[in-house]
Subunit: 260 residues, 2 copies
DNA sequence: CCCGAAAAGTAGTCATGACAACTCTCCGGG
DNA sequence: CCCGGAGAGTTGTCATGACTACTTTTCGGG
């Protein structure tokens, strides 16, 4: 599997395997770098790099001279799992479902054009879906794609699988995303589709996804039933998580001029 | 300032300064490692370490052989800024305000005991405050501390400054925290204090803060007016952000047995 | 003029060696 | 029995050197 992967990745895999299987218990001290070096037969570099990766995920902690300890922490989800509702559901052992409310192309309004970084009036693809977990409605998703990106989606099997997977198989791969999280009252569409009372609180996640070149692939507005999903972030003074609390009004700014 | 800080930190500071002042423009290619090494007169190690830190914050991107580019990204907030409402407000240039609703000690219920990892019936300190930004209510904060941690807070100047700053000055320093974000309807207390309609959507952030030893310092339940604040997270496939979407019901699990 | 192959340049990876800063353990004095 | 200090152990930091994988540029042939 990781046969010809870089050494430090192999070491990382081995270490995280030991943590998950309990060979290294939470609270335990991790073996010293010296002993790890001896065990794996590498130099100190890759070992430190692997440990550094673990630390950046909050799996271990420790400082100068202090023996690092395994932390009990929420496992950081892979990018794929976080981006794809379908993959997330599968990881939970639940059956993802969906119903397409709307799927079509239309000219971009000024707001949409600014968000997607396209010219006003240029065509965009809009897809609105209700997402289910084991038959129960969980989220209302409204996605917007530039026309080039979204066109193949319209002819794809919308009811079948994951839009995310479809895009990836077409060579359109998101590698970066920004999520703005807040709360909002349920509007008529959500009332109907999510079966909640008018004005009920929903967890809103607005997302912008970029490809490897920094071009915008998608903007989305996901509205979750708080009874079905929530979000977890870990934070520490050692490592700076790309996480910020922002004042209202600053939101618009975030949708401005990203790179290239 | 950073006179005797480690080299790679000095380099990081210099680089981020160049990004902020626009010397390195978003979309620009960052100077090559070789030229940076030549300019700063160090070896490649510290330069790479500084670049690696920038990358982990999403400030730059790039791969093998590819020239790294500066990304337009939400600046990652420091741990302090994210944890302290007071500091956050100051950074925004707004005047933080507060009003204490309740402050006292009481015996831990079973739920609270489990969250704080203390024995049931053992005393805990509870502080409930309304927080203001420029006189406008922004958030209702309910904090729970183990008695040892919270006792000095009761005699401190509650109306004056930041609890967070007070704790730090006492040598009780949070270094790690976990935040669970969801939405909730406004209850009577929020209706009264935040001046919203009953049932209005609020953004709820439940937080557990740990000290350097992994002991729990605080659990908190913050309820923001979505019109006043939101949260931003960045995400990429290269670096794994400690971020996860979780199903309801899994929440309780997160408040379980952390390390030591 | 266009396209493809070679060359140059860049970042990723790894090894080795060394010193500094800090923590933990252990032991002896009070 | 408690406390403090010395020493051992561990991690953080930095330098140097080398090779690999990939991208960008250049240049020559068609």
């Amino acid at each position: 599997m990781t046969e010809n992967a870089p050494l430090h990745v192999q070491l990382y895999d081995e270490m995280i395997h030991r943590i998950r299987t309990g060979v290294w218990q939470p609270g335990d001290r991790v073996p010293s770098e010296k002993s790890l070096v001896a065990e794996f037969g590498t130099s100190r570099g890759p070992v430190r790099q692997a440990l550094s990766t673990l630390r950046s995920e909050g799996m271990i902690s420790g400082g100068r001279g202090a023996p690092p300890r395994v932390q009990r922490t929420a496992p950081a989800q892979s990018f794929d799992t976080f981006m794809s509702f379908t993959e997330w559901a599968h990881e939970l052992g639940l059956e993802p479902g969906q119903r397409v409310i709307e799927a079509g192309r239309r000219p971009a309004t000024e707001d949409i054009a600014r968000e997607l970084q396209v010219l006003p009036e240029s065509p965009v693809v809009e897809i609105i879906r209700v997402r289910y977990l084991d038959e129960k409605p969980a989220m209302l998703e409204r996605s917007l794609f530039p026309f080039d990106v979204g066109r193949p989606l319209l002819s794809a099997d919308l009811d079948g699988g994951s839009l995310y997977a479809t895009l990836c198989s077409l060579g359109i791969v998101p590698v970066r995303a920004r999520h703005v999280i807040d709360a909002i009252a349920a509007h008529p569409l959500e009332v109907e589709q999510l079966r909640v009372a008018p004005g009920a609180p929903l967890l809103r996640v607005r997302r912008i996804a970029y490809d490897e070149h920094g071009a915008i692939i998608e903007t989305a507005d996901d509205r979750y039933l708080p009874s079905m999903a929530s979000f977890v972030v870990e934070n520490s003074s050692e490592r700076r998580t790309p996480l910020a609390r922002q004042a209202a009004g600053a939101t618009a700014e975030l949708f401005d001029a990203p790179s290239r």
